[in-house]
Amino acid sequence: MYPALLVDVTIFVLALWVGFEVISKVPATLHTPLMSAANSIHGIVLAGAMLIAVTAHNTLGYVIAFVAAAFAAANVVGGYVVTGRMLKMFRKRPQVPAENAAANGSASNGKSA
């Protein structure tokens, strides 16, 4: 018996079920952003890449840790940015560029109100 492994397996299986439940309700409209969002979540592997840098003590280890960190960081940063870009496009009419104005600072709020 591996009690620690058993706990890990339990967590894994329950997380799978949560994933099925949460995701099976998403409408087709959002499937591409969803795929992209799920894609950025597996960027959590960056945490793993960081942890192997701790145990790296030779050249090969450093090379692996470097590549893993670079890969994982590209996944996580790119994933979230591209999902955000996609979702930014989903907005209701009227499509006045209000979002840009709001992002430029609160100064314009006073005028428009």
């Binding site: 997380a15 949460v22 309700k25 409408p27 592997v45 701790v54 590209a74 979230y80």
Partner: protein, 466 residues
């Protein structure tokens, strides 16, 4: 368990909750952006907690710090740059590349852990390491090929050769068989053979699959990456990786099934490949003289005097990047009081929801985008159905048995009072069969690139109503 461990684990639980909440908020377009923000903050705190572990554990060398920081900086910058600059039409390739690097990183984590642990590795760790390396490596090479096919760098037609299937089986057997042997007797050399076999298997798995099926494959590989990351979590004993990986594994699995269902094909069928290789082409007489071509002016008259128009976008729209032109034409028609909506087939384009993203980019409000089951009853009441570069998803042949697309759910475009099809040629869709819609007496063909055609039509409508 120290206080530090408690705090870290609780932070990981918080991060995992953010991921679940984030995905849950993706249920509706109205909350989806918040969902992404919640998920991003979850990732932020998970990474911060991991950084705390690295500091707390000590033992990391200065080189280790430099390697980690520069690696993350280089990768992060590359990810940021590509995500900011990518064209919306090239989104599927980019998602596939992120899959590749995610899977690659997961495999590297497993490899590194295995090399460090050496012969002292326990059987349970060996199992998850082998799974991590195999799944991660297959995802890495497979995703690169999938992205290459979509980008046109790799031949998007199914590439196959005699005995290809046997090679596939051999590679799979080598990877899994040696992997199983490794569990009994750990060896770094053998692990590298497993790695190479898995990488080759990723290539040979995706090469025979046609471009039409790439969305399903990317979704499947997304699920693979999630699973690989969860396995990496088992290897290094990190719950954040296990939970997040399992969530993604489940989501990718569901999405893959939804997409395969929409095409009325089983996932196995897709992976085995051969779809669109040409051997499914039905040797029917070409539609020839029955096709009716139409000029911009005539199309404009039909559109301008309709009371209800449904636009059916397909891959041709994405390829021509004509999303802004179609939105402009729709606005013009709407300003005349015409009821305009868009019929979105689940697999139109190259990814599920691909059309929605493109049209959203052109500021088409999402309530106008109707899903197949909602819009199908409306075609009978529609004056003009404007089909833009969509082929197989409109082919009435799907309703009959014995064709390559039999049973695939389609948009009932042929029920509309008249149909205008914008297409570059009479060329076949991915299924490689003639589209019976095009020879329907109610159908007129407008042979042009979608962007050019829509611009011309909008100009003609303007002249007409001026």
């Amino acid at each position: 368990m120290s206080t530090f461990d408690w705090v870290i684990q609780l932070i990981y639980v918080l991060a995992a909750s953010c991921f679940v909440m984030g995905l849950h908020l993706m249920n509706s377009p109205a909350t989806a952006r918040r969902g992404n923000q919640v998920s991003t903050s979850g990732m932020g705190i998970a990474i911060a907690a991991t950084l705390a572990i690295v500091v707390h554990e000590g033992g990391i060398t200065v080189t280790g710090w430099i390697v980690m920081a520069t690696g993350a900086a280089v990768g992060g910058a590359a990810g940021m740059y590509s995500a900011r600059t990518v064209q919306m039409t090239a989104m599927p390739q980019l998602v596939s590349m992120f899959n590749a690097v995610g899977g690659g990183a997961a495999a590297l984590v497993g490899i590194h852990d295995y090399m460090t642990a050496g012969a002292t590795v326990s059987a349970s760790t060996s199992v998850t390491t082998v799974l991590d390396v195999i799944i991660g490596a297959v995802t890495f090479s497979g995703s690169i090929i999938a992205a290459g096919k979509l980008q046109g760098v790799v031949n998007s037609a199914p590439v196959t050769f005699p005995g290809a299937r046997i090679v596939n089986v051999i590679l799979a057997v080598v990877a899994v068989g040696l992997g199983a042997y490794l569990i009994a007797s750990p060896s770094t050399a053998l692990l590298s053979i497993v790695l190479i076999a898995a990488l080759l298997f990723g290539v040979s798995m995706v090469m025979p699959i046609g471009g039409a099926d790439m969305p399903v494959v990317i979704s499947l590989l997304n699920a693979f990456t999630g699973t690989a990351v969860a396995m990496a979590g088992f290897v290094i004993g990190n719950w954040a990786l296990i939970i997040a990986g399992a969530l993604v594994g489940a989501s990718g699995g569901i999405l893959t099934k939804l997409m395969a269902d929409a095409m009325n094909r089983s996932i196995r069928n897709i992976i085995v490949g051969g779809f669109g290789t040409g051997d499914t082409v039905i040797a029917a007489a070409g539609p020839g003289g029955d096709v009716k071509a139409i000029a911009a002016d005539d199309a404009a008259i039909q559109l301008a005097y309709a009371s209800k128009v449904i636009i059916v976008p397909g891959y041709g729209l994405a390829a021509a990047q004509a999303q802004h032109e179609v939105a402009a034409l729709a606005d013009l028609l709407e300003s005349r009081g015409i009821d305009v909506s868009y019929a979105i087939h689940p697999v139109a384009g190259r990814m599920p929801g691909h059309m929605n993203v493109l049209l959203a980019e052109a500021n088409v409000p999402y309530p106008q985008l109707k899903e197949m089951d909602d819009i199908n009853p409306e075609f009978a009441r529609t004056d003009v159905a404007l089909v833009i570069g969509a082929n197989d998803v409109t082919n009435p042949a799907a309703r009959r048995a014995g064709t390559a697309i039999s049973g695939m759910p389609i948009l009932d475009v042929d029920q509309a009072k008249s149909i205008i099809v914008i297409k570059r040629s009479m060329g076949h869709g991915y299924a490689g069969i003639d589209n019976e819609l095009y020879v329907d007496p109610k159908t007129s063909m407008y042979f042009a690139d979608a962007k050019k055609a829509l611009t011309e039509m909008a100009a003609a409508v303007k002249t007409l109503v001026a």
